[in-house]
Structures are given as C-alpha cells and as structure tokens.
C-alpha cells in the first residue's frame, strides 16, 4: 500500500535554515545539511528546501547547497524559491534536486510548467500554491504571500494539473506558523478534485493534526517545518503514532 508521506520543509535564507510565523518574523533554525541528515535518520519521507531569499545574486549559493545536500541525502528532495526560468530549474535539477517547486513564476508564466514537463517530466514539478481566505474565497498569493493574484485556488490547481504539474503543494497562509492544524476544507476540496497528488501544508502543531488531515482529506503527504526544527514533534514519534491509528506510513 502506498504510504502517506511526512515531508520536512527547510526554509533557507543565505544558506541557513530559518522559520517565520505567518510568513514574517524570521528566526534562525540551523545548518540545512545537518538538519536534513537528522530528518533522514528520523524517518522523513521527503525533504523540501525553500529558498526564501532567492535573488539572482544568491542563486550560486543555492546551487552550491543543492549539490551538498545531493551528496549526503538518500531520499527525494525538492528545491523551490525563485525558480523563474527553464535555466534556473535546470541548474537546480542538474545540481541534484529531484523536483523543483514553482510558485510565483508559474502564475506569471504558466507555460513554464509545460516547458519543464517537456524537458524533465511531470514528476519533477511540484506546483506550490499559497492560499488565503479573502472575502469568502480561497485566493492564490505569490511573492512569499505578499501579492494577491486573480486566481481562485481551485481554478489555479486544475489549470496547473492540465499544464503538467506532477504534484500540488498546498499551503494555507491563514494556518501557516500558527500550530493550529492544517486547513482541512480547502485541502479536502482540492485533493478530491485533482488526479495528481496533493501535499497539505501550513499549520501543523501536533501529531493529531497529521491524523486529521490524512483521515479527512485525500492528501497523500503532509508538510511541516517549525515543529520538526525545534524538536516539538519527532518524525519517528509521529510515524509511530500514525501507525497506531492504522494510517499507513513507512
């Protein structure tokens, strides 16, 4: 049976792991390669590295980090943040990333999804969408949550699936960093409407929240950052608890 994936996310700025609350108030959380190795030991199923400072000048630092991670890490990992062209995506993939995640750039130039799918296959494209409840609708935001787009979450998710995205990483900005639990409704609706896998993200604060998202939605993975960084929830404990609840995990 296919297992539910526990995905550990490392937000990267200037080569260091950082974590913010509601996309602001950033604080340092350690060396990315060391953290990544710890997560692998604890049983993480995948890792995501999101470069939140991504600028053209700093891209070399990111590519260098990806190479270091690829040498050490023997589980799949995704790299995102500032992937805005086929060239940048190629640099990151050739440096050893298994997948790239697209966010703002996909909204600006949706053809990038198709272009990447043609070159590297759908399996390497994770479409990251940050959504927020605005006037009774789930709206898609870009640029680290700063810019509201015209897109509603469901329409955008379906559009990107049609263009060739391999997976959707769905982050609720309202829940992110609050430790109050995943956004069940929007995750449930989008995961049910799509054929590609959906990863729930934003709001994980306890083991019960993972149980909730896996039993109430069709999400095939759940992502968290802060609670793993600071050791509030150990991935090995989380997996044992989910097994006890008959949720299939590795």
């Amino acid at each position: 049976m296919l297992k539910k994936r526990i995905i550990s996310c490392l937000d990267i700025r200037d080569g260091r792991t950082v974590k913010g609350i509601n996309f602001i108030n950033i604080r340092d959380a350690g060396d990315p390669v060391e953290l990544a190795e710890r997560y692998v030991r604890e049983g993480a199923d995948e890792l995501v590295f999101l470069d939140i400072s991504a600028t053209n000048e700093k891209r070399a630092t990111l590519v260098n980090l990806v190479q270091k991670v690829a040498k050490k890490i023997d589980i799949p990992f995704t790299v995102g943040g500032g992937i805005n062209s086929l060239k940048v995506a190629s640099d990151v993939i050739l440096a050893g990333a298994d997948k790239v995640s697209l966010n703002s750039a996909a909204v600006k130039q949706p053809n990038l999804i198709q272009e990447l799918a043609n070159n590297y296959g759908c399996q390497c494209i994770v479409l990251a969408m940050d959504v927020k409840w605005v006037n009774g609708k789930w709206k898609v935001f870009t640029h680290g949550g700063k810019v509201e787009t015209e897109w509603e979450a469901m329409a955008w998710a379906k559009r990107t699936e049609a263009l060739g995205a391999g997976e959707i990483l769905l982050t609720s900005m309202d829940n992110d960093g609050t430790k109050g639990g995943f956004q069940i409704e929007v995750t449930k609706d989008i995961a049910a409407a799509l054929k590609i896998p959906v990863i729930a993200s934003g709001g994980a604060g306890s083991i019960a929240h993972f149980e909730e998202v896996f039993t109430q939605t069709k999400a095939t993975g759940a992502l968290a950052a802060g609670i793993f960084h600071y050791g509030e929830v150990r991935i090995s404990d989380l997996k044992q608890a989910l097994k006890n609840k008959q949720i299939a995990v590795r």
């Binding site: 297992k3 199923d45 023997d74 589980i75 050739l94 759908c122 399996q123 390497c124 069709k218």
Partner: protein, 192 residues
C-alpha cells in the same frame, strides 16, 4: 569500473552520488566501448519512453545494452525501456524482458508517488532486505507481471517492482532515493 548510461532521460547524478556513498567510483558515459568494458552497467532514467528510445537507437546504445554479458541494472524508466513495448508514445523498447508497459488507469491518483512496499521472490538483488520493505516510487506507467517478475508492488493493481533474467536486472523504484534499503539494493547489485 561501474558505468552509468548517459542519455537524454537519465538522473545520472543521483545514481553517481549513491554509488559514491558506497565508496564506489563510476563513470557516466554514452560511449559503447566504455559500456562494453565496464564491470557493471547501470541504466537509470526519468523521462519519456519514446524520445529516450530514439536517442538510444541513434547512438546505437539499444544494441549495446541488449548484448551486455556483465550485470546490468535498469532503474525506473530504465526498467520500462528494457521491456518489450511501452504504451507511452507507442514505443517498441529493448525487449530484454517480455513485459508490456501500460499507463495506470485504476488508481485514483496518478502518478504513483511515494513509498510503497514490495514482496519479492528469492533473488540476490534482495539479499538482506526484509519482505514488504518500502521503496520510493515515482511513475505513471508500469510493467505487467511475467515469469521475469522478481518483485511485486500493488497500486490499484499488481505490477512488476523488479525484473530479473540472467545478467539483466531492473527495478521500478529508485534505490538511489530509498534510504538505507535502497542502498542495500545497490550494494547487492555491486556484489553480483
């Protein structure tokens, strides 16, 4: 020396890194002579069957791969290309194994992405690996079952997670991305 086949659909870097973690040096090459004289050959792959097969034919690598007498390990698309036919682009493949490659239609969610357990028949490739170990898969097409099926996985239906015949081996999952047990598969292959 271990040779990794270079073509237009390889994730050669990941395989090379995994071999390096085992202390094993490797070369990445599309040169027939290099492949023919290697001790073992790994044929990885991520991508699309039709364009990959045209590339292999253009380079004459289709003939070379089939004629190898040393152990060959296909990974993911590599496994699919070693079968007889793929529905993806209606492609005639290498035909090392008799299996047919079809697109998943029964599962609710496609591609099959994540860790899934496999059960295997006695084979040196699975030495010291417990039955029902989880490996990392990512694919939309799968090989059906045949007498060469060495391991079975289930995702909506049963498919070949590994194939083996003589010196030819192939796995649908990614041993280079499957943590300690994936490393064990590579170690077993290197020990053949």
């Amino acid at each position: 020396m271990i040779a990794i086949v270079q073509y237009n659909a390889g994730n050669t870097g990941s395989v090379q890194n995994a071999l390096a973690r085992l202390g094993c040096e490797s070369i990445v090459t599309d040169d027939s002579n290099e492949l023919l004289k290697a001790d073992k050959v790994i044929f990885p792959g991520v991508g699309e069957a039709r364009s990959a097969m045209s590339f292999l034919r253009e380079k004459g690598l289709d003939v070379v791969l089939k004629s190898l007498n040393q152990p060959l390990l296909g990974i993911c698309l590599g496994l699919q290309l070693m079968c007889s036919y793929s529905e993806e682009g209606e492609t005639a493949c290498l035909g090392v194994f008799p299996n047919r490659i079809s697109r998943f239609v029964k599962p609710e969610i496609v591609p099959h992405v994540g860790w899934n357990n496999v059960s295997y028949r006695e084979d040196r490739l699975f030495k010291e690996i417990p039955q029902d170990t989880d490996f990392y898969f990512v694919h939309s097409f799968f090989a059906d079952l045949s007498e060469d099926t060495a391991a079975v996985c289930n995702y909506g239906e049963s498919f070949s997670a590994a194939l083996a015949r003589d010196n030819f081996y192939a796995v649908q999952f990614h041993p280079e991305k499957s943590a300690a047990m994936g490393q064990q598969i590579l170690k077993n292959f290197l020990a053949l």
